[in-house]
Every structure is written in structure tokens, then in C-alpha cells.
């Protein structure tokens, strides 16, 4: 029981990270109907930029933890958003209107490029970061097992909730959010009504990348080590989360992320760590087979 509760805490933390990445997949899929294969690598770049900012701040003498965290978050979001912008501009925009699989293939190329770019620019070695926040709260003192929630986990969960709230407000209340939803429903009609579709799509990528940067920073804080390859597996899992939640649905992405995080954590805790990726990949296949529109997704019919 204690053990399961601890796994629940761990799984929720991990699920928050997946949910943040999954939002990027689901937004892009909703608006232009493509799988942004390079999104996992944008997340990895967010983690690297966070790492570099932490070191920079440390060298600059800013060591007060709350200030450092907020600054790093801001820097990582800005620069990673720029990556999202550049990727869309270089690899996807010229292909709009091309045949359906062209953007996917281009995205695979972009993913390979980003991975190797970071490998060449920053080295292939694993990069460690000293724990920024330590300590935690004991939730339950059992006989043999103590359930704790670390300060880091609290920060991750709280930050994610705040970011998600802001994000939801942007989509629901601002003109930009309205334009995004309009483009998702009917691009041609949106264009006729004076919405700059290209700009809206660009901003979708920018927001998706900024969310991925938050996820990257949380990943860095949580695990303490990153390398240039983390984006691939995290990306596939986050995509699984997006599909599980119903691709195109924003609450679905977060829900799917949480579920994937929980399933993975419980699988590792009770079955085997080696096969935890198999668990996530199998869920992807099973969801697509039996519930292709996901938990909260719309069911769409292919028309002639």
C-alpha cells in the first residue's frame, strides 16, 4: 500500500512531464494534421538550454533557488520557442500542400538533424546537474516503507499546473487562442475571415516548443542527467499519451500523459524495468487498434 502510494506520486510527476510534451504533439496535429516527429528533440533542446542556463546563473552568482528557477524557466522557454519557430519555418512550411507523408519524412530528417546537432555542439557524454532543490515531505511513515514527496516533485507538479492554467487561458480566452481553434476547424474559412493562418500555425509551434521547454527543464531537475538522445523515447511516449487522450484534444493530452506516466511507473515497480518502453509502445498500438479516437477525442469519418 505504502509502496503503491509512492509509485502514485512518482507516476504523477512523470506523467506531468509527458503531458506537457504531449500538448505540443496534439496542438500541431489538431491544426495541420501532421505528426511533428521532431517535437521530442525540441524537448531535449529545452533540457539542454535549461542546463546551460543553470550553469550560467551559477557562474553569475545567482544562487537563490526560486529566482534561479524562474529565470531558467523563462530563458529556456524563450530560446526553445525560437527553435520551434525555426523548425516550422525550415522544414514544414515549404511543404504545406505537398503530399501527406512529406512533412512526416521531413520531420524525421529534422529529428535526426537536431539530435546530431546537439551531439556535435555539446558532446555525446551524459550531462549531470547537481540537485538544485533538496528535501521533501514525509507523507506517511509506515512500518517498513516511508512515503515521501520530494520538494522537486512538488515544484514539478505545481509548475506544470501553473503553466497549464496559463496555457488553457491562452487557448480559451485570447484572440490568438480563438484563431488557433478556428484554424483547427477550417483553415480556408479562417483565412476568409481575415485570420493570418501562417502566423497562427507558426505561433502554435512556438507555444508547443515553449511547453516542451518546461517539460525539458522538469526532466532535467527530476533526473539530474540528460543526453542528446532523451528526446526520441520521451517523444514517442508523449505521442502515445496524445493518442491515448485523443489526438487534437488538449485536456486529453494531459490526461494521456498522466496515464502513461502512471502505467510506466507501476510497470517498472511491479514487473520489469527493462521492458518499460515495451509497455508504453504496446499501449500505443492497443489504443490505435481498439480506440483510435482516444479517450477524449472526436471520432472523425474519412470522407470521399
Amino acid at each position: 500500500m505504502d509502496y503503491a502510494l509512492q509509485q502514485l506520486v512518482n507516476g504523477l510527476t512523470l506523467g506531468m512531464i509527458y503531458g506537457l510534451i504531449a500538448l505540443g504533439y496534439t496542438m500541431v496535429y489538431g491544426i495541420i494534421g501532421m505528426i511533428n516527429f521532431a517535437h521530442g528533440d525540441v524537448f531535449m533542446i529545452g533540457a539542454f538550454i535549461s542546463l546551460i542556463s543553470f550553469i550560467l546563473l551559477g557562474m553569475g552568482g545567482i544562487t537563490a533557488v526560486p529566482i534561479a528557477l524562474v529565470l531558467v524557466l523563462a530563458i529556456a522557454m524563450c530560446f526553445t520557442a525560437l527553435y520551434g519557430f525555426a523548425v516550422e519555418r525550415v522544414a514544414y512550411r515549404p511543404l504545406r500542400g505537398s503530399f501527406r507523408l512529406a512533412p512526416l519524412i521531413s520531420a524525421i530528417g529534422m529529428s535526426i538533424f537536431l539530435q546530431n546537432f546537439v551531439q556535435v555542439a555539446q558532446g555525446a557524454r551524459v550531462k549531470p546537474l547537481e540537485p538544485v532543490v533538496t528535501g521533501g515531505i514525509v507523507l506517511m511513515e509506515g512500518g517498513t516503507f516511508t512515503v515521501t514527496i520530494s520538494a522537486m516533485q512538488i515544484i514539478i507538479i505545481l509548475t506544470t499546473l501553473v503553466v497549464l492554467t496559463i496555457f488553457t487561458l491562452i487557448v480559451a480566452r485570447t484572440p490568438l487562442g480563438r484563431a488557433m481553434r478556428a484554424c483547427e476547424q477550417d483553415q480556408r474559412m479562417a483565412k476568409l475571415l481575415g485570420i493570418d493562418v501562417d502566423r497562427t500555425i507558426s505561433l502554435t509551434f512556438v507555444i508547443g516548443a515553449a511547453l516542451a521547454a518546461v517539460a525539458g527543464m522538469m526532466y532535467l531537475l527530476y533526473y539530474g542527467v540528460i543526453d542528446f538522445f532523451i528526446g526520441f523515447v520521451a517523444g514517442v511516449k508523449a505521442f502515445t499519451a496524445a493518442v491515448l487522450g485523443g489526438i487534437g484534444s488538449l485536456p486529453g493530452a494531459v490526461l494521456g500523459g498522466l496515464l502513461i506516466g502512471l502505467i510506466e511507473t507501476f510497470w517498472s515497480a511491479y514487473f520489469s524495468v527493462q521492458y518499460k518502453d515495451v509497455a508504453a509502445f504496446s499501449i500505443l498500438a492497443l489504443t490505435l487498434l481498439f480506440m483510435p479516437s482516444g479517450l477524449l477525442g472526436r471520432h472523425d469519418v474519412e470522407k470521399v
Binding site: 522544414a91 511543404l95 501527406r100
Partner: protein, 437 residues
Amino acid sequence: MAQAGFPAIVKDAGLAALVALGVGAPLLGLQTVPGERGLDLVTRPGLLLATVCAVFVGRLLLGLFLANRRSAARSAARRAADAPPRIGLTPMQRVGKMVAPAFLALAVLMPVLPGIGRYEIDLGTLVLTYVMLGWGLNIVVGLAGLLDLGYVAFYAVGAYGYALLAKFFDLSFWAALPLTGLLAAAWGIILGFPVLRLRGDYLAIVTLAFGEIIRVVLLNWTSLTGGPNGMSGIPRPTFFGLPFSMSGGEGTFAGFFGLEPSPIHRVMFLYYIILALALITNFVTIRLRRHPVGRAWEALREDEIASRALGLSVVAVKLTAFATGAMFGGFAGAFFATRQGFISPESFTFIESALILAIVVLGGMGSQLGVAIAATLMIGGFEVFRGLDEYRMLVFGLAMVAIMVWRPRGLISSREPSVSLGARRNVGAEHVAEGKG
């Protein structure tokens, strides 16, 4: 799109350079290096500056080039509108008809040409392996229009299938070869059966997931596959029962034919095996295209809904394509295992799938000759830049994007349809999109 005046182009290049500065600043301008405690940072302003300048100049040249081409294209379009429609083969297609036999002759004679050593034959074998894989995947992607990102799984099934058959049942390469093909085809059906109802890009991701699952299982099932250490001591192929041995004894290849024993014999033999396997793949593909099954594949690629309306069993048609492609992947895998004598899960990563897919895409999905040329260019290019290991993958990724942007239909961008009613029109790669959205 801004009007293509010179100031606009300069402004555009300036903006691109600004973005490059922002993108490059954290990752190129600063590098993390292991320091005394934790990581330290070093600055690299020179590299950053060079990159920004390169982006500026590149974007400027591109802008000028595009502006030029746009005005040229406008006048060309005006001329084309007046010209009568072209009938029959274009000059390019006529040259194309000569290229294939020339390639074939070169491939057959390559090992015995003067000045060709062991290294060249080995490289030729590698290229032909990828040609075969490209042709195998071409059945799935190019003909049936199903994007398979996990093709390497079948390659792995073939390789491990042969290694295990040799280890546990003591089968020789020739006895095991048909079995590995069957095994891979069976896996193609097992994996394909549930997923083939999915739409194009979902199918791509699920096949990718299956490829990864197979790799993870190979990596962790240590008792059967040796895990990360792989399997070694895989038996080499024999020439009708005559092994290639350096002893030169009565029962060996060299001894039987009264030749001086030399390691080059086996290298050449392996080369001809893969050449034969690749040609079989090609031959079967060309024949199948005229077969009802092949026609059904292409019909499915053109329009899934129409095919279904005409009574084709979509799942069965897709399964045959998947299984046929998988079978050739399995053959290639068995060959890979016997050539290397050692296999490990390292050889079957996602990047291999991406490489094979890139060959098919660059070759112009559906074109046999294009795939062969693309494999030669790609593997040859990799070999030339072997010294720059990290950079070649960097360029590979960028090249994939660039091909999609500039030439999304590949090198051989169109071909005559296998069957057509009335006027013949060329088939473009845009049909490789099931359902067309």
C-alpha cells in the same frame, strides 16, 4: 510571401541570421565541459559568428536564386501553355531505359574489373544490401503506399532467425535462407494484421513502435539472443557444400577447383549472393506489379476508398504487401548475419529504418532504378565521409529535409503506370499518401 525585390531579400536574410543567432547562442556559443565540480562553460563566439554569417549568406543566395527561378518559371509556363502536349517518352526517359542495363552489367562485372580490390568488393556488397532493403521496402512504401518506419524489425528477424536456426538446428545458410524469409513474412503478417487498418501516419508510428519493441526484446532476452553482447560464430555460406577455407584441402572451394586459396574468393562469393538476392527482389517486384496482387497494391495507393468500393479486401491486399516486403527484409537479414558472422541489437536501430526509408524516398518512391541509384549515392557518400562520423548524420538529417523541400518526389520522380486505361499519365509520389487526407 514578400515581393522578391532585392531589399526584401536582404531583409529576409537578415531576419534568418537573427533567428540563427538566437538559436545558436545557447548551444553553439556556449559549450558545457566537465569542470572541477560539475560542469563548466566555455564560450565559442567564433563558431557562432561563422554560423550566423553562413546562414545570412545562404539565405541571401537562396532568395536571389528563387527570385530568378520564379520569373523564369513564369515565362516557361507561358510557353508550355502554347506547346502541344507531349506524347510518348521524353528524352530523359529514353536515357533512363539505357541506364538500367548499364548498371546491371557494371554490377555483374564489378568484382573482376582490374583495380578492384577487397575493399571495393566489400563496399559493393554493402551497397547491394541496401539496394535490396530499399527494393524490399519499396514494395510496402512505393507500391502499396504504406509508410513503414519499422522495416528494420524484419531485417532483425531475418538475421536473428538465421543465427538461431544455425545455432540450435545446425542448418546451413542455404537451408535456412528460405526459412528466414518465411519467418520474416510470418512476422510481417502478425504485426501487420492488427495495424493495417490504421491511417497513413498512425501506421508509421505504430510500425516504429513495433520496430523498437523487437529491438528491446532482442536486447533483454539474454538467454536466447545473447542480449547486448549479440550472437557470434554464425556459420558462413558454402559453395554447393564446399566451404571457403584457407587450408586448400580436397573438400574446400579452392582445393576442388585447383585454385590458390585466397580470402578474396569468399568476398566475391558473398558479393554475388547479395547481387542475386537483390535481382530476385527486383524481378519479383516487377512481375508482381503486373500480377493482380500488384495491381491491387497500386490501386490501393491511388485511392483506398475507391478500391474498397470496388470490392478489394483492403486488409488482405495490405497484408500481402507487408508480408512480401518483410520477406525480402528477412532474406537481407540472413545475408547480413552470414556475412558479418556476428550480430547484435546495435545493428537494428531506428536510424537503420530511417536510412532505408530515405533511400526509397530519395529514389522516388516506386521507382526501382531510382532506389538503386539512391542507395549507391547514400551508402557511397557515407563511406566517403567515414572520418566525419558525427557530421555525416547531421548532414543526413538535413539532406532528408532538403530533399522533401526541393524535390519531394525523389530522383526519378515519375514513371509510367503499370496498368492504365486510356491516356497514360505519369504517377507521381504524391500518391504515396493513403486516402489523401
